[in-house]
Symmetry: C2
Amino acid sequence: MSRGVADIDDRAGFSQKRANAAAVLDYAWDRGAFTASDAIEATGLTRSTVIALADDLVERGWFCELPNARAAGEYRKGRPARRYELRSSAGVVVGVDAGQHCVTAAVADLRGRELARAYTEIDEDSAEQRLTVADTVIAKALGDIGLQERSILCVTVGVPAPTDLHGVSPEGEQGFWSRMNPGFAAHLRERGERSGWLIEVENDANLAALAEGALGAGVGASSYITLMTGERLGAGYVVDGHLVRGKRGAAGELRLLSLVEGVGSTQGIAALLRTWALEARASGTVDASSPILKTPEAKLGAEVVFRTAESGDPAALALLDRMAERLARICAVLGGLLDVERIVFSGAVADSLGLLLPRTAARLDELTHSPAPDLAASTLHGGVVSTGAVVRALQIVRANAIALEPLDPIREQTIPF
Amino acid sequence: MSRGVADIDDRAGFSQKRANAAAVLDYAWDRGAFTASDAIEATGLTRSTVIALADDLVERGWFCELPNARAAGEYRKGRPARRYELRSSAGVVVGVDAGQHCVTAAVADLRGRELARAYTEIDEDSAEQRLTVADTVIAKALGDIGLQERSILCVTVGVPAPTDLHGVSPEGEQGFWSRMNPGFAAHLRERGERSGWLIEVENDANLAALAEGALGAGVGASSYITLMTGERLGAGYVVDGHLVRGKRGAAGELRLLSLVEGVGSTQGIAALLRTWALEARASGTVDASSPILKTPEAKLGAEVVFRTAESGDPAALALLDRMAERLARICAVLGGLLDVERIVFSGAVADSLGLLLPRTAARLDELTHSPAPDLAASTLHGGVVSTGAVVRALQIVRANAIALEPLDPIREQTIPF
DNA sequence: CTGATTAAATCTAGGTGTTAAATCAACTCC
DNA sequence: GGAGTTGATTTAACACCTAGATTTAATCAG
């Protein structure tokens, strides 16, 4: 569980106050304003205790006390209750998508509202560069809203590589993985320890899965898979509410799907549709009027195929059917082996799946006996990984909140955006 | 987590004493005799507190106090320490394997020592019968060692069907699953509530996986798969230390493996080797001296093939190679998709895999790029499921211990076996 | 405007459980 | 038998929670 997070309290015995404070804080986390009575009911503690704890948390900067009870229209007779709320500006989290070609950093408050976002493209793949680029992108995002590093409570970095419990990636083929993750964990941990924030380095598909589960098409499902499907396929599994990582964090690497009949490679939808479209054009079977023939070769990609199919073009539809067959097989195997209720398609092509998804679902239904998993397209457009990183960072902060010291509660009302 | 277990305490606020007592009890669980000083170090609590808690637990029947410190040879100077130990006879757990043809019940003490075992075969498949047979088999096992129902702390039942969080199985094809699990959960829960024990109904392969992880070939691995491979294939996944169950508990149902090239059906090793041996014999390509030709048809099964192969028979070895290829593909897909470090072969044929496993491993190595999972044969012979049920029951008792009342500490020394 | 009503805050006394420090007990070793 | 060592026991103080009485801040009815 701790995963690279500094273990702050290793006492096994419990401090009652600490535990109760954690309960109140946790209750407040996903709730808006609340009164002492609300917390009393939720925690089973006495009024005196709850109020003492809440005042404590106000003093420590986690809560702010709201003006008065009746303001919110929800008036009830009797003495107005004091109202508290999690101080969403008690600190920020940073979610970084350290992708192959581009590094993005998103800064969010404790409610998950995105306050800033910055990115830089990377040309050269030197290890050094990836680390320093991440540093500067984070600094840039923070700078845009006038915050300093000490506002950070947690930084989570997503990398296109499996990561173990310490955020370290294995070598991988031709060292790709260790090039993508050249020691983010160690680098950030060192800085985090100085500045007092927690860190985590996690596989990008896993973070995407968390994003979908928290905000996207995975909401409400306790078992689902997120398929990242741009140029290459990758998956993040959430089963029984837990992220499934595997020994080296490589669960969700789909290379072995090549053993499934009719699947072959692990190329993504975008890559494959492009290849197929070029093949079709070369085969001479495509109608002369079809955009698949008319589009210039350099521009012929998945987007074109999707758009062309929507206008009823038979050649494009044939390609979609072929893709549906392939995706259905992938979903059947993954969904069948893991018994998930939903499979979310995420990544660049997610917005264009209108025609493809129903076809895939129909085919999937034929392949499976028991109820097949639902298929859904991500609603999170780009930035899934950085969003997932923010989601994960918030989870980490929430789990460790009582052990953390938030910003001094001076600049109370300043929510930059 | 609770999974059919009666939720005894739903207060959110914490009782400090209760939590500390739980810590001490949990510390004692997988430890032999220990002194107060040991527990002090482990829990971080004060001597006074630990001793008070320990005495409390002695009074409640969870601990017994052992004679004196120096007895155990581990003498150190100074005043001899009081020594405590988990009272393994504080109660028993019952693990039931409610298989298709046979119901087995194992009774074990809190240390996991098996005290009794009973079984009955089932001829007819009436739902009623399965429930009552389970009752009588449990009663028989208990009776053999002169215990009464109120000694039971938890009953776990393994069924050859997926189970959801409440222990309920879906319909399944031709109602097989609901015939195998005709409401064990509801039936036992009712009885358990009267007699004060916890219950759980779980898929048999999942229980086998837990058994392997606790006592068998899965020990030491945090991510492994147990393949149950008798007549039909089934798997239990443990990834990152968690059992992976899936929405309906059907993770590990391998029907969809039929989509993998070279795997085809989900028949088990025993079933398939029998079929293949008969095919080979019919094909006329088998040497006349081979036992595969000479064994009477009714006796020609997996056992014969394994034994024959060991004497170097080419026909039998060819069958093993064919099987190795198939198993390697299964392992490659499962191991690759889930990133496990080990795959354990469990079930009836586990003892005969001496020749098959190395061949499978070699082929598996070719199929995977990254380090392939280790392959291991179960060392638990028959009874894996009931053993797993006991393991699971003990987990449940451990997790809920402070909320349970053990037997009155009267018959202290009576450990029947 | 006054007093009744209501709901919540605040105050107070008491109890439970933990700690820290001092003291006592049971050993061994010389 | 006395010094030395380790751990149990005792004691007082403290931390935190609870329950109940009291007070406060509001509405509402007349």
